[in-house]
Amino acid sequence: MADKRMTLDELVGELRSGMTVGIGGWGSRRKPMAAVRALARSNLTDLTVVSYGGPDVGLLCAAGKVRKVVSAFVTLDSIPIDPHFGAARQGGTVEAMEVDEGMFYLGLLAASQRVPFLPTRAGLGSDVLRVNPSLRLVTSPYDDGEELVAMPALRLDAAVVHVNRADAAGSGQILGPDPFFDDLFLGAADRRFVTTERLVGTERFAAEGPLQTMCISRLLTDGVVETPGGAHFTACVPDYPRDEAFQKSYAEAAGDGELWGTFRQRYLEVDEPTYQAAIRAAGTAAAEGAGR
């Protein structure tokens, strides 16, 4: 079997400015934050980020990496709106394609299944159609003749998701309660990366969780990176909960040049091991959880 292990730097090296990048997880849950931090400190620019948005979106906007965001929401869960994304939108520095979260799902599914669109009622009558003038309707070819939204495939140049366990061949295991849409992000993408809390031997999966937790097949992955604490500060249960204190400090740095400068210097202009050491030093809850 192919050995797909790689480093964060190698992952970022596969990407180019202007690419459309899908990011797995949901809100402030199981986001591939180590990869997001690596993107933030890279030379890449003009990215289109496709995400069930959380701090991945806000952080990349604040780092000046984003041209356009494709989302249904951008939230930190315990903090309703990511203020970094808010600042970027209110400052007019990023473009937004906002769709219903079910439309978003169908866009990924269409891309995964290599069809140009999938039909849905979602979006009909709403301003999703007004603010996205490229969206089209489709008329049912059957007797009902219903006119539905034709959600276009959300084709991705690359996708990154974060899982609890993975093996060197790129199979991934999600031990938390919701796999979200991670398999579809990978299925929709040309270059497909999995980051993981822990790289394990394939034979170890069965001891970690039941069969249905082994939900990312190696059919969907090109590269796998072991990044312990790699979802910090988002939730990565059962490995660790969200680091609420850290998330609060991230949110408070929005729109404050000095606070953001400090945050950036301490947490973004450093490599991942230095970041992990810094949060351990800060004694935050998630770091304690991750270290167990």
Binding site: G86, E98, D100, T120, R121, A122, S126, D127, V131
Partner: protein, 265 residues
């Protein structure tokens, strides 16, 4: 006019708080529902859905707010370890429920207008909003697939507006204009605010004052509403909770009085 909805006799109306009237009005949104998934955003709706399940709509299906359906009606803020789970409901499966119509929902609204359009996306110009909100989330799909109601804890001309800035949840006129595929399963059932209860039971399907909470005048509601509200000749008062409902709210579902933080006494 007002009536107790379930057994237990009428409540001691004198000491019923505004938040408790709101919770009961939210519970009534789920009245008559059978086996549907009740989703409720905000404190009063969260109490309401649980209260409905414990009284007049026992077959309601509640979620744990994460990826599962729960048995019973857990108290607000109950520890996850104490919940009895009855089914797996990850986000992807939620769309199966939404699109099959087996759901009833109370969402919140940053803005709502006379036609029942709701906005949770952005305030101001789309290209450069004055305030970015959470995003449309599932509102467009929810509103054209199953009954949707709204909860607005602070009724003001800033929340009840002439026209919402970004139509997220779809109101009656917009659904009608979009055609039969949009109207087929569309219903905006109720709007509950801290001042009263509203519906769209008018010939033109525009917002109508259905009841005022005790202590609120019709003039107060009109003054706090940024559009021409349909006011019937006789306006009822929102029904009080029954004694049993009051006990469930106070002793079982929300003993920590989270409801008072949302709607101050």
């Amino acid at each position: 006019m007002s009536q107790a909805g379930s057994g237990g006799g009428s409540g001691a109306a004198a000491d019923v708080s505004r938040a408790e009237y709101c919770a009961v009005a939210c519970a009534d949104v789920f009245r008559g529902n059978g086996e549907v998934m009740a989703s409720a955003f905000g404190t009063a709706p969260a109490i309401g859905a649980r209260l409905a399940k414990l009284t007049f709509s026992p077959d309601l299906v509640l979620t744990d707010g994460d990826a599962a359906l729960v048995a019973g009606a857990p108290a607000l803020g109950a520890a996850p370890s104490g919940l009895v789970l009855e089914s797996h409901m990850p986000y992807r499966r939620v769309f199966d429920v939404v699109w099959s119509g087996r759901r009833n929902l109370i969402m919140m609204a940053s803005q709502i207008d006379r036609d029942g359009n709701q906005n949770i996306s952005a305030i101001g110009d789309w290209d450069r909003p004055t305030a970015q909100l959470i995003g449309v989330r599932g509102a467009p799909g929810n509103t054209v697939n199953h009954s949707t109601s709204y909860w607005v804890p602070r009724h003001s001309p800033r929340s009840f507006v002439a026209q919402v800035d970004v139509v997220s949840g779809v109101g009656y006129a917009r659904a009608a204009a979009a055609g039969p595929a949009a109207t087929r399963y569309h219903e905006i059932h109720r709007v509950v605010s801290d001042l009263g209860v509203f519906d769209f039971e008018t010939p033109e399907r525009v917002m109508r004052l259905r009841s005022v909470h005790p202590g609120v005048t019709v003039d107060q509601v009109v003054a706090a509403t940024g559009f021409d509200l349909f006011i019937p000749e006789r306006v009822a008062e929102t029904r009080p909770p029954s004694t049993e409902e009051l006990r469930l709210i106070r002793d079982v579902l929300d003993s920590r009085r989270l409801r008072d933080r949302e709607v101050p006494a």
